[in-house]
Symmetry: C2
Subunit: 130 residues, 2 copies
């Protein structure tokens, strides 16, 4: 019998479960110190830069749903939907490369447009216009 | 020997190869008449609605690179990078569900922000302001 090995997928899922279950510090244990993460807003290099990018997002998360998860021994892809305080229905996709049980490289895709719109609406309300 | 079956992945890849190789009509042969596609701008129902969404994008495509492809017999996920006439480095991710060799359901994720910005810049130039 051929056993399909999927160590990277397991790491990606463990990371995902942690940050979607309000345990971002546990999620960070799956992030390599020298992670390189390409996100819509640019590249984040190193775990602290990654924390600054991803941490605030986990704080506004109100719901998440895993839509798909595939992977092998070295790479994996997850797709998920989220609701957040400013935006409902904000799906994301992540490709990761895993080295020694930690995510060394990530590419994350999501649509910034609704978040930008929510920010503008919030700023507009704060300034009293409209 | 266990043969890993991945019919949905094969369909997803055939669709992807077709539209990234300037053969959108061939790509459409992999799209079910009653496809339901959830995109950043909303839901497209039916092959003609899908054509109206995806066709124009393939016409501005100048480069594509498949970053990841995983799947099984019924579903698959692709992640790819693209360059387009208005925007370079516009990655996307697609999850598909395949029925009888055609894509019956798709969820596509990409960042609209750079496309919106390019459109605004172009409109601004056309109107002569800055």
């Amino acid at each position: 019998m051929t056993e399909q090995s999927a160590a990277a997928l397991e790491t990606a899922l463990a990371y995902h479960r942690a940050w979607t279950n309000d345990d971002f510090e546990r999620a960070m244990t799956y992030i390599a110190d020298d992670i390189v993460c390409d996100a819509p807003s640019g590249r984040f290099e190193g775990a602290e830069a990654f924390r600054g990018f991803m941490g605030p997002f986990t704080q506004i998360l109100t719901r998440s749903e895993l839509l798909a998860a595939f992977g092998d021994d070295t790479t994996a892809v997850l797709m998920y939907d989220t609701d957040t305080v400013p935006v409902n229905g904000a799906p994301g996709a992540e490709w990761v490369r895993v080295v020694d049980g930690q995510i060394a490289q990530m590419r994350i895709i999501f649509d910034r447009t609704p978040f930008d719109a929510a920010r503008r609406a919030s700023a507009s309300m704060a300034s009293g216009s409209e």
